[in-house]
Symmetry: C2
């Protein structure tokens, strides 16, 4: 097992990573000093697959946990589900000493974390992520929130968990498309700050896709390290933290332009990285060998859902509406080298839009290989 | 004019206090470094009485402000109004660089501050309070939130303002009952930490009730000092900050037991202080002279709405449900002396309930005079 320490002063916490860890969560709870029974927020799928393991680990370690079940899927990350969680908390007689276990993928983590951030002005929560995307990305960093008709995550907060327990063993039950989608966030982490991680994924892709525990533990711990390192220096995304958005400026816009139906978030990030690669090449950012390596790796993971029929205008209006656009200026992360991302604050909108039009017309082939 | 500095590290801010300050708010905005137009959240009453003064002060100092109007009254401090504010923010094309001016009493400050805390994971806000209660209490401290059917302020956050502009001149338009209600929070501040402030109110009560600007500025600045001093040492109400809840344990319960209809919040705090005075006497806490002084002062402010017909069971169940009850233990602030409050963490529930029954039966006469 591996333990990482995220040093955020009073909000510091540990990330524990290990195969089979879900059976031991209860044993680590006592060090957190909670005095009330936990309230587990999860969905029916996770509860069926892994609920018994988590709940059994809590026996004798905490008072009897309560469970609040929410709907499974991005469309449930909304205000109705948030109020369903609040109601569940009141029904469970939760008070300011209560605490939450967010148990599931990124959707559960985001909405349960936001409920924790706002219930009685904030109660603690721990995160037990059960998808690759959540384990390598969304569980770490304290970004919590819900979607609204105007866009994703537009209502939310920064609320750091009190601990994260990350068991790669839970990924064995994950649909292969979900696993692949999560892997794009792993590649993103490597792309912006670790050529070693890119090389590891290149050499171990088959092991990872077969859920080899050692390989999954390695990539999860590398990604958490990279992300924690950024967050410690810029917790509330004033500037540096934006580096984690590589592939996301265009990725988010692709998701929005297709009403969040065609792509998994990770897949949209996959396309977003390909687009950013090509755009970086136009600006003369990255050598052809590095471009080819990243391009090839992204395509080896799986066949991405096609870009066919997505109008550039829809992508563009989503992109400029995105909250990462600050006072009208477009920010975008580009790579100087594999493992070396930089934030460009003043991307020329007209130029980027023209490039995006070509990229979509060519079905997402940046012509870089 | 007076300026107080609230030292909260990265979240530090200034409180400016002065009669006529509302005409000058715009002039101080530039030092805050905002780059987007402000979004003013207010209600129709405040807008009619003071809107022009504030908006004119902004001309030429910021881009054109947008105004979001919400309903006037505690019953509008709910989830529907919160979503109305979010919609208004989206319509105004607010982004992460946007900022809010909360302009009104405590209700406006609480809900506008909570919208600011959660819109795009948190945008800045400044507070321009226009009631005595907001000026001496709710505007300072960063507690923001909304009411739910289960109770007041149960969904919320801690979100410090970027500045507070406090103009006692705006109180001239305040109904006299509102002014009196706010004064109980002033008396509370004195009771827990400044016998000087109690003496000032005793000697200047008529001037205060006639809205004498110098007197109002004095009490506002004393209260803000006292509150800021506590908050700097305990921003998130872990322990020390609870001292500010003198009169609130029973006060909140009285409000809830009468469905928030009979008492203004300050009036309930007035009754709560009287009850706490009598209970403290039972425990042998305070000398008869001090009890008599505080009792007399509270009654001099105005005639409090009667306690008639409030069943003790309703008050009691509201009290134990209150979020200040931690894991079933009742916390209550009592006075060791005038100007010297202490937090009692382990109040004997049965004993307190018995006392409360007598207090209600006697129509709120603690028999202390």
């Amino acid at each position: 097992m591996k333990t990482l320490f995220v040093d955020l002063g009073q909000r510091s916490y540990k990330i524990r990573i290990g195969s089979g860890l879900i059976h031991k969560v209860g044993g680590y709870i006592s060090e957190l000093g909670f005095t009330s029974p936990p309230i587990v927020i999860t969905n029916s799928t996770v509860l069926r697959l892994h609920g018994r393991n988590l709940l059994q680990s809590l026996i004798g370690k905490t008072e009897g946990p309560r469970v609040i079940q929410i709907g499974d899927g991005e469309r449930f990350k909304n205000r109705e589900t948030l109020w369903q969680i609040y109601s569940g908390l009141f029904k469970a007689r939760a008070d300011r000493r209560s605490w939450i276990i967010a148990f599931g993928g990124g959707i559960v983590g985001d909405i349960a974390g936001f409920a924790a951030a706002t219930f009685m002005r904030g109660i603690p929560y721990i995160n037990v992520p059960t998808t690759l995307l959540a384990q390598v990305d969304s569980a770490v960093g304290g970004k919590v929130g819900i979607n609204v008709p105007q866009g994703k995550n537009l209502i939310g907060a920064f609320h750091q968990p009190s601990a994260i327990f990350l068991d790669p063993g839970t990924l064995r039950t994950l649909p292969s498309r979900e696993l692949a989608a999560g892997l794009y966030e792993v590649i993103k982490c490597g792309a912006i700050s670790s050529e070693n991680l890119i090389r590891y994924v290149e050499r171990n892709l088959e092991r990872i896709l077969k859920c080899d525990p050692a390989a999954l533990q390695h990539i999860a711990s590398e990604c958490c390290c990279i992300k924690a390192d950024v967050i410690v220096r810029d917790e509330r995304e004033n500037d540096l933290r934006m580096i984690l958005n590589y592939g996301h400026t265009i990725g988010h816009a692709l998701e929005a332009a297709t009403s969040y139906r065609r792509f998994k978030h990770g897949e949209a990030v996959g396309w977003g990285m390909l687009a950013a690669l090509g755009y970086g090449r136009e600006l003369g950012f990255l050598g052809p060998e590095a471009i080819h390596r990243l391009w090839a790796l992204i395509h080896r993971v799986e066949t991405l859902p096609p870009l066919r029929g997505i109008p550039v205008e829809k992508v563009w209006s989503a992109l400029v509406r995105d909250k990462k656009v600050r006072s009208g200026k477009i920010s975008m992360v580009l790579l100087k080298d594999l493992g070396d991302g930089i934030i460009c604050q003043d991307v020329d909108g007209a130029h980027l839009k023209k490039y995006l039009k070509q990229f979509l017309a060519a079905g997402g082939d940046p012509g870089t290989h």
